[in-house]
């Protein structure tokens, strides 16, 4: 009994039912179908996890998808430890957020639409994580991108929303461009796109070089980097991070589910899944680590000065995703996935809390216009505070464990850039704590800075929302306990369960540090976290005049950060505008109009005007006719005789 098939196909069924009957039949009750389906998936996922824990993995094809010559690919499923963890993450978050949405989206005119998209998204995400081949992975990959597009642009009558959806899709396409080529390279190299044979054979190609567009490159490095392109796009890493902040145009549950917990982590999942390939290429790993590190620093710095509630969390997401890549890049795939897993909880929680705040504020997002909300919405405040502590890496909370694991691996691992990325990671940990608590303090503490109506309207969110918050909060607090570091674990007699669990799939890097060093790393990261919180407290609750002074004094820094390093403007300048300009002025204006059409119309026109000229030869005068005849004779005679 392949009950695991239920995991993706229940949400799919929900989607189909909703999209067909939601508008006319289900209407206000559309959520039932979706919630039941996703909950069902969750149940099956848990059962699957149990199976996997008991050692039953599975790799099975459902049916043959495409056959063409030697190219053959199926729709198939691979259930192993990695998949099982991802299934739990996805179904759990999805279920909770489905429930949360009942309250949050209540009364929206596209209610059924929202739930059908969510279901579709869940289906695609599950197909993505359950795939046993690259093409199906790509299917899920694009599928979640599509749902993201729909959901970001959910309020499609708003230009900014539809713009953001479009941007997300197109930016992702840039990444998929490389990803697709990567899959093609894999097929050309291995003759198959199934994971199993590819990963098994990868080692034998490690030394091969290949000529790619005129450059000789290491084959495995090339494949790894091409695949990583996909990750960059999907997980919003530099330089393709630009879509994620804009994606906050979508409803908040969407931000929580797609743009925090699940979809954006697909890139990390991809790298983890392909660890057999990445591990073979030092270059590729280095690229991954550095990309992650730089992105996390980059996003964190931007997060410092933003005022948009959701955008701050979005930059935080980018930053944390960078962390995950950092982990993978130093060989700590488990750590990366572990962080993915913990991050899913606390980041989803953060977003949902933000949603709750928005709900109360009537859609207001500017934290400068909030303040003192804690007394109006205690549940929201409490859960969000805990989530922030978790992200700040306060010991005992989920974020601490995964972050510590990453930093330690970076510090101790074999990666040549390990120390560097550890340093960056630590700085980011500080920054993360700072901006997270800046958010908390500005939003919930102090005096309310909004309008009077807004203040009047402030209230705690409905039960469906708060219960979800609390459920997630449990995760944000405790999710990390499955991965207690050996250092502490040894002391209290708990093993690092997740690391052991994942070892068959992801392996585990050999650390070279001493216990003392490990303690030191942990201490530094904890210190950084608390320093960040402390600084935020100092600046935003004690000396509230300093931030303004600072931003005045370092106005250029502030401007750069506030404008997100002008990356969007840069793209517009070097990519978008030149393309449109050349499309208008060169391709349409010159090539088509002045060259091709000039010939296409010009030749007939020339013939036409030649025709009108030639007409004049026919003067109507007999002698002219005769003369032409005689000239004809003369010419022929001359030609024939002089020949």
């Amino acid at each position: 009994m392949n009950y695991y098939l239920l995991i993706p196909f229940l949400p799919l069924a929900a989607f189909i039912i909703n999209i067909l009957f939601g508008r006319s039949v289900l209407k206000e009750n559309a959520h039932w179908v979706s919630i039941l389906a996703v909950a069902g998936s969750w149940v099956v996922a848990v059962a699957t996890l149990m199976d996997v824990i008991s050692g039953k993995t599975l790799n099975q094809n459902l049916y043959t998808w495409i056959v063409s010559g030697s190219f053959k690919v199926s729709v198939g499923f691979l259930i192993d430890q990695l998949t099982a963890v991802m299934l739990i993450v996805v179904t759990t978050c999805s279920t909770l957020i489905h429930i949360y949405s009942v309250g949050y989206m209540h009364g929206d005119k596209g209610y059924y639409r929202f739930f059908s998209y969510l279901s579709l998204f869940t289906f695609c995400m599950l197909m993505l994580v359950m795939a046993n081949n690259f093409l199906q992975l790509y299917f899920g990959w694009e599928g979640v991108g599509l749902c993201s597009y729909f959901l970001i642009g959910y309020y499609f009558d708003k230009k900014s929303a539809s713009d953001a959806g479009k941007k997300a899709f197109i930016v992702n396409r840039f990444g998929d461009f490389g990803f697709g080529l990567g899959i093609i390279m894999i097929f050309i190299t291995f003759g198959t796109v199934y994971y199993e044979p590819v990963f098994n054979q990868a080692g034998s190609f490690a030394a091969n070089t290949v000529n790619f567009l005129g450059y000789d490159v290491n084959l495995i490095t090339l494949i790894a980097l091409l695949l990583f392109c996909g990750s960059i796009g999907k997980s919003a890493q530099l330089p393709l991070h630009v879509w994620l902040p804009d994606a906050m145009e979508g409803p908040t549950p969407v931000s929580a589910l797609i743009h925090a917990a699940t979809m954006v982590t697909a890139g990390v999942f991809l790298v983890a899944r392909c660890n057999a390939i990445f591990s073979l290429s030092e270059t590729a790993l280095m690229v991954v680590a550095l990309t992650g590190a730089i992105t996390s620093l980059f996003a964190a710095t931007i997060g410092l000065v933003q005022n948009d509630l959701k955008r701050i969390i979005a930059y935080s997401t980018i930053s944390q995703l960078g962390y995950m890549f950092l982990a993978c890049g130093v060989g700590g795939y488990t750590a990366g996935v572990f962080h993915l897993y913990t991050h899913a909880f606390f980041k989803a929680l953060l977003f949902l809390c933000a949603g709750s705040v928005m709900h109360a504020m009537g859609g207001e997002l500017d934290i400068q216009k909030m303040g003192g909300l804690k007394k109006y919405m205690p549940v929201t405040y409490g859960t969000m505070f805990l989530a922030s502590l978790s992200i700040a890496g306060v010991p005992g909370l989920a974020g601490f464990f995964s972050k510590d694991e990453i930093l330690w691996l970076a510090y101790s691992g074999p990666s040549p850039v390990g120390k560097l990325v550890w340093l960056i990671g630590t700085v980011v940990a500080f920054l993360t704590a700072f901006y997270s608590f800046r958010l908390i303090f500005l939003t919930f503490h102090g005096k309310f800075r909004g309008t009077h109506e807004q203040e009047h309207h402030l209230h705690e969110s409905p039960k469906t929302m708060t219960i979800t918050l609390m459920l997630l909060c449990i995760g944000a607090v405790s999710a990390g306990w499955v991965g207690i570091p050996a250092l502490i674990g040894d002391a209290v007699g708990l093993e690092n369960w997740i690391s052991e669990f994942m070892r068959p799939v992801l392996g585990h890097p050999e650390g070279h540090g001493t216990h003392a060093e490990e303690w030191m790393v942990m201490a530094i990261s904890i210190a950084a976290g608390f320093a960040g919180i402390g600084l935020a407290y100092f600046l935003y609750l004690r000396r509230t005049d300093i931030p303004a002074r600072l931003s005045e004094q370092f106005s250029w820094v502030h401007r750069i950060l506030f404008n997100k390093y002008y990356v969007d403007e840069l793209y517009s300048l070097i990519l978008i505008r030149p393309t449109i300009w050349s499309a208008k002025n060169i391709l349409i204006g010159i090539t088509d109009a002045k060259v091709i059409e000039a010939i296409v119309n010009g030749v007939p026109n020339a013939i036409g005007s030649f025709s009108r000229q030639l007409r004049k030869v026919q003067t109507g005068l007999l002698q002219h006719y005769a003369m032409i005849m005689a000239t004809g004779v003369l010419i022929i005679v001359a030609l024939m005789l002089l020949r």
């Binding site: 002698q623 002219h624 003369m627 005689a630 000239t631 003369l634 005679v637 001359a638 005789l641």
Partner: protein
Amino acid sequence: MISQLFFGYFAAVIIILSLLVVTRKNPVHSVMWMLLMFFHIAGMYLFLNAEFIAAIQVIVYAGAILVLFLFVVLLLNLREELQTNRFIGSWPAGLVIAASLLLSMIAALRSFVPGPSGPYTIALIEKETHTRVLGQVLYTEYLFPFEIASLILLVAIIGAIVLAKKKVRS
């Protein structure tokens, strides 16, 4: 020698008269010069032992066709005709074309080699008389074309009547 002189005379006169025909302003004059030229051509035919042809040249060509021309010429308003240009504006072009065509033809004709000789020697023709020989050939070998010629004349009659009759049915 004497034959060459004769030829020289006829050729010169024919050419001069031809030129006069095409250059005279007064159509009547043209026709008259034409008439004179036809006589010379007839003379030349005699010279070539073609008495019958010479005869019809005079009788048909000069006597019938040219007279027809004269009738039509009389339709014209001669007074007005004499005052307008005789040539079209671009007549030099015509001259050049005709002249160069002539030159190239002459160039080609210089290398003329006649075909095989037939049975009708001068002696034979003189013995049988030209008209008789010609008649024999015409009514035996060339009976068919002769019949066609009659049809052509018939068509000419019909055509001339159709085109020129005054009455127009309304």
